[in-house]
């Protein structure tokens, strides 16, 4: 049976093979996005001492399917004075980079779509492109609230991208590579060989900047439902609205994956040397990603929304100086060949 599959696989034209590989990556991401929304409602529910959705299917497990169907059936309303084409294009532009970035994410040493040498740059370039979905949505809606949300989001993303970029410069200094697989392999070994320890400030800055970049609470001023209704997506309904949510959650999973790969040793086990659980495995990567995704949800349930000027202060006056100082520290540590990371 396996041989049959392998021979038919080799017989397929190359382009079809690539398309199939993309499907194998995108479908689980979409499923994870669906169940991340359920997890979010459940986790926040339990944090607030209530049960959360439990009516559709056993224990509410079919809730995301029901939500998806509902959004598919809903009418897409296009406001009269909006810019039709850009209005429809905006959610697509928001989602496409969130999915395209997964092309260079390795799941273990062999399992990856594209072993791009400049993978880290590719990720940075694509994640910086995602903000256009929000800006275009805000402008094309021809609504004050949407426009305010778009402007806030543009300023916020540009500010945090710098801190995020500097944090990644630290990673590539430490790993001597832009290739994400090489970065993970530079961290081979147990917990104390991973980059989170020597790059601790960069690790914290990267994850928090990631939270800000995905417009999640407590940095979700682009939505800010208590001040500007729902920000950039106030005029959207039906599937167009759902695409923005798919993009947001796909970006959350992407940030969780990148943080796990670059600072927590990716697929390496925290207990090397032990039988079975000491083996590097994709399960470790998923476990680390889950921890970060839980943090996303925990933040949302715990912190009140940042005031806008304080977001800007945190980005420009705290994160960027911290990363610049720590870049110097990392550079000196690399030159000094400080073990066990840089020898």
């Amino acid at each position: 049976m396996l041989e049959l599959i392998l021979t038919t696989w080799d017989a397929l034209p190359e382009i079809l093979q690539i398309v199939l590989k993309i499907v194998v990556i995108v479908v689980p991401i979409m499923l994870s996005v669906a169940y991340l929304t359920l997890a979010e409602r459940k986790v926040i529910g339990y944090i607030q001492v209530r049960i959360g959705p439990n009516r559709v299917g056993p224990k509410g497990l079919l809730q995301p399917i029901a939500d998806g169907l509902k959004l598919l059936m809903k009418e897409i309303i296009i406001p009269t004075n909006s810019n039709r084409y850009l209005f429809i294009a905006a959610p697509i532009i928001a989602l496409a980079p969130a999915l395209a970035a997964w092309a260079v994410i390795p799941f273990n040493a062999e399992l990856l779509l594209s072993d791009l040498d400049a993978g880290l740059l590719y990720i940075l370039a694509l994640t910086s492109f995602g903000v256009y979905g929000i800006i275009i949505a805000g402008w094309a809606s021809n609504s004050k609230y949407a426009f305010l949300g778009a402007l806030r989001s543009a300023a916020q993303v540009v500010s945090y991208e710098i801190a995020m970029g500097f944090a990644l410069v630290g990673v590539l200094l430490a790993a001597h590579s832009l290739n994400i697989r090489d970065i993970v392999e530079a961290q081979a070994g147990g917990v104390f060989h991973w980059f989170w320890l020597p790059l601790l400030p960069l690790f914290v800055v990267y994850f928090l900047a990631g939270v800000a970049e995905t417009n999640r609470a407590p940095f979700d001023v682009a939505e800010g439902e208590s001040e500007i209704v729902a920000g950039f997506h106030v005029e959207y309904s039906g599937m167009c609205f759902a695409l923005f949510f798919l993009a947001e959650y796909a970006n959350m999973i992407l940030i969780a994956a990148l943080t796990a790969l670059m600072f927590l040793g990716g697929w390496y086990s925290p207990f090397p040397g032990l039988p079975v659980i000491g083996e590097p495995s994709i399960i470790w990567l998923f476990a680390k990603m889950s921890v970060f995704l839980f943090l996303f949800l925990w933040f949302r349930a715990t912190f009140p929304r940042y005031r806008y000027d304080q977001i800007m202060r945190l980005g420009w006056k705290v994160f960027i100086p911290v990363t610049i100082v720590w870049l110097l520290v990392v550079a000196v540590a690399v030159l000094a060949e400080l073990g066990p990371w840089f020898d």
């Binding site: 740059l121 426009f147 300023a155 304080q310």
Partner: protein, 205 residues
């Protein structure tokens, strides 16, 4: 037929159309979007040239940051197009002269004498493990270190100049001290008052 020439012509066509759109469309927001498309296709062409570092940096810097700020400004402008077009005929000769000078300069520098096929050898095809990021880095910090450092200093001067030009000192404005706000403790803000509880029947009187 090979796929590379097809890709090249597709991207080039998009690039030319997008660049023309930047200067011809009426709506400034559309012009900015066309410029983004032009940058993007340009990056794609550079990737075909195996210059993936430059291509990704182009997207990261120009599409990801510069154009966001451009759009930020352009979207907030309320431009009256007909007013802008009024002086078209009057400024046309000056525009033509400037355009001609730019064209002549480019023809001199980029002409066949310097960039012709017989001047520059065919680019070498590199294997998949060739990293032009690494090559670029090693040349940038050895052979071209002075131009590189000078460019960095010029940029730094530009940053400081931009800040100095836009900084307005307004002495009589109240400002929040956010550090003090963040450091505030419960003891400074909350005063606990001890009161004897009122009895229920007393309140009902």
């Amino acid at each position: 037929m090979e796929i590379q020439p097809i890709l090249f012509y597709v991207f080039s066509a998009i690039l030319v159309v997008a660049s023309l759109a930047v200067i011809t469309v009426k709506n400034p927001v559309y012009a900015a979007f066309s410029l983004i498309l032009a940058f993007f296709t340009c990056a794609a062409l550079w990737i075909l040239l195996e210059a993936e570092f430059l291509a990704l940096t182009l997207i990261l810097v120009y599409v990801g940051a510069v154009m966001v700020l451009f759009l930020f400004v352009v979207m907030m402008l309320d431009i009256n197009i007909s007013q802008l077009r009024e002086g078209f005929a009057r400024y046309l000769p000056v525009g033509l002269i400037v355009g001609f000078i730019i064209f002549a300069q480019m023809a001199v520098v980029l002409g066949p004498d310097t960039f012709g096929l017989d001047q520059i050898a065919d680019p070498v095809k590199h294997a998949a493990d060739y990293s032009n990021t690494k090559e670029l880095g090693s040349v940038l910090y050895t052979v071209y270190v002075y131009p590189f450092e000078i460019a960095a200093v010029i940029l730094l001067v530009a940053i400081i100049a931009a800040i100095a030009l836009t900084l307005r000192r307004r002495p009589n404005v109240k400002q929040q001290n956010i550090d003090a706000q963040v450091r505030v403790t419960k003891e400074e803000r909350v005063r606990m008052v001890k009161m004897t509880a009122d009895k229920k029947d007393e309140m009902n009187q």
